[in-house]
């Protein structure tokens, strides 16, 4: 029984981590809490569903398509909303409020286009097959989800650690002004970051949509809350922290749902988040931050 729960937790946790990575990347590089990330996640799963059911695309094409669609939305949000606010040097909470508006718009658009009811992927596109490892019932789908999530995260880590692009991004995270003076194309990298982050959010949406096989316009909101919990657990803007925080939340949630009550799973996440903010605002693994007045 416990092993089964651990597998569920790993599946869920790896998607949380993937989702939170995009979220924390935007915060680290653009210094914006992008509260439309949950809606972008939802858009990703609808995009994949539309491609699978209307264009008869195979699942992997639909996944790539979903990344492009949600990535493009992220890019548009950056170009149309965040960039003018940066140009105006708006106080740091203003972009956050604007992204709330974007999230409402996306959710409402999805509700208008696809209706409020739960939609499902057609049975025949789901990766079939399941087997037993000892007592544990393993679905091929779960293996695929974990593999895709970790593959994408590995790619992102490698880019950030080993390439010129990654070094430039880390320089911007440290100080956009200094990076600009060093000749880094800051605006361009902001756009790339927004695209990549939203694409990661979108694929996370597809994976969650597949895992529970349920897609609704409102699925973004609870995910956004979990994303917030994860990046606060891991430290805001901390890439490695988002990975560990995501897995941690997955485990905490599944275990408390299994052994406490189904509703308390969410309360545990937020209680934990609340506690972390009070005791260690820089996250579980964070360096001590300068106190920002």
């Amino acid at each position: 029984m416990l092993e089964q729960q651990l597998l569920n937790a790993l599946t869920l946790g790896s998607v949380y981590a993937l989702f939170a990575l995009g979220f924390t990347l935007v915060f680290g590089v653009l210094a914006v809490i992008n509260l439309s990330h949950g809606a972008v996640f939802m858009v990703g799963s609808y995009a994949a569903l539309a491609m699978v059911s209307h264009l008869n695309a195979p699942l992997w094409v639909a996944m790539l398509g979903a990344m492009v669609v949600s990535g493009t939305i992220g890019l548009l949000v950056d170009v149309l909303v965040l960039k003018p606010l940066r140009a105006r040097n708006a106080p740091h909470l203003i972009p956050m409020i604007a992204t709330i508006g974007v999230g409402i718009m996306l959710t409402s658009a999805a509700q208008g286009l696809f209706g409020a009811e739960v939609l499902r992927f057609p049975e025949d596109v789901m990766p079939a097959g399941e087997f037993m490892v000892g007592d544990v019932h393993v679905r091929a789908l779960e293996i695929a989800i974990v593999a895709i999530a970790f593959l994408l995260m590995a790619v992102l880590f490698t880019i950030l650690k080993r390439t010129q692009l990654g070094r430039a991004l880390r320089a911007i995270a440290e100080s956009p002004k200094a990076a600009y003076l060093l000749g880094i194309n800051v605006e361009g990298l902001f756009h790339i970051t927004s695209f990549v982050a939203a694409a990661l959010g979108g694929i996370a949406g597809v994976l969650i949509g597949l895992n529970f096989n349920a897609i609704t316009p409102f699925m973004g909101q609870p995910m956004l809350h979990k994303g917030i919990a994860v990046i606060i657990l891991g430290g805001m803007g901390d890439i490695r922290g988002a990975l560990i925080g995501g897995l941690f939340l997955g485990f905490a949630e599944v275990i408390s749902k299994a052994y406490l009550s189904s509703q308390m799973g969410d309360a545990v996440a937020f209680g934990l988040l609340f506690l972390i903010l009070l005791v260690r605002p820089s996250g579980l693994f964070g360096r001590k931050l300068e106190r920002k007045a």
């Binding site: 809490i33 909303v81 409402s108 309360a267």
Partner: protein, 287 residues
């Protein structure tokens, strides 16, 4: 009087909502005026609504004392969580208050006495138009006086520059706690008023979306004066009624309004300086 009765029987709930939303927008205006972005006001409203409804249903308190209790309960909560939470600033404060709101919502969802996900049903109708009007008037008067007082100036100083305010000898922590808990009081009373004309309350009404709605009202109207939040809340309450034909796309307009206001009217719709300039121009044109 005939037309008025017709109008009232159709739209009284809407008018009541405008009043309650105005109170909520003012409650977040108060915390914003001290430079705090708190997303806890929907939760405070919920605490007020549940406490007052439970007192009415189980203990049959009089409406006046129920309203007062509805305000005091969230104030106490605010005082308790305020001390640790208000050490955080900016985004961190917003996230912590958001998390607090979720904890409240989930708690209410799981308690037996609050009726769980079904909420509380059959709350007697007690709120009348003049209750809301009176409380709104008192709140506006009180806040207007507060703005011009030592406390209001301290809030403004903290909002402009916390470190400078501290150096001026302002007890920053205490004033922040004051703004936070006064805001909770107003939101709680609004929740109590609301519970006693909707007959029914459920945890769904006090979640993140509602916290955002309250914030949107204040941001849309503008926070540089007291008129702004009231204007914003009226518009956002009436707008959905006017946009009924859009059905599912209705809240698209809400979101778009929020984005457009942030982009093009950073000070909100009601910016006293701009409006004064407008009237001056008008007068100049006539002369």
């Amino acid at each position: 009087m005939e037309w008025f009765n017709d109008f009232w029987s159709t739209y009284s709930t809407l008018v009541f909502s405008v009043g309650v939303h105005a109170l909520l927008a003012l409650s977040i205006w108060l915390t914003l005026s001290c430079g705090l972005l708190s997303l806890a006001n929907a939760a405070f409203m919920g605490v007020g609504a549940y406490v007052s409804a439970l007192l009415t249903l189980h203990l049959e308190w009089s409406f006046g004392s129920v309203l007062l209790a509805g305000g005091i309960a969230p104030t106490l909560v605010a005082l308790i969580i305020g001390a640790p939470v208000l050490r955080l600033s900016g985004v961190y404060l917003a996230m912590a208050t958001l998390a607090f709101g979720e904890v409240v919502r989930i708690t209410v969802l799981n308690l037996e006495i609050t009726g769980g996900p079904e909420g509380l049903n059959g709350i007697p109708l007690a709120t009348e138009g003049w209750h809301i009007a009176l409380i709104l008037a008192v709140t506006v008067y009180g806040l207007a006086r507060l703005r011009r007082s030592k406390v209001g100036r301290a809030f403004e100083a903290i909002k402009e520059d916390e470190v400078a305010a501290r150096l001026m000898g302002i007890n920053v922590d205490r004033y922040k706690l004051l703004a936070f808990s006064l805001g909770a009081f107003i939101a709680g009373v609004a929740g109590a008023l609301n519970a006693h004309f909707t007959f029914f309350i459920s945890p769904r009404e006090y979640g993140f979306e509602n916290a955002v709605d309250i914030l949107t009202m204040a941001v849309l109207g503008g926070t540089s004066s007291l008129i702004g939040p009231m204007l914003g809340s009226s518009i956002l309450t009436l707008l959905p009624e006017l946009l009924r034909s859009l059905q599912d796309f209705r809240s698209l307009v809400n979101g778009a309004v929020l984005v457009l206001v942030v982009l093009f009217l950073p000070k909100g719709l009601w910016e006293s300086r701009r409006i004064r300039a407008f009237f001056k121009r008008l007068k100049g044109g006539q002369a």
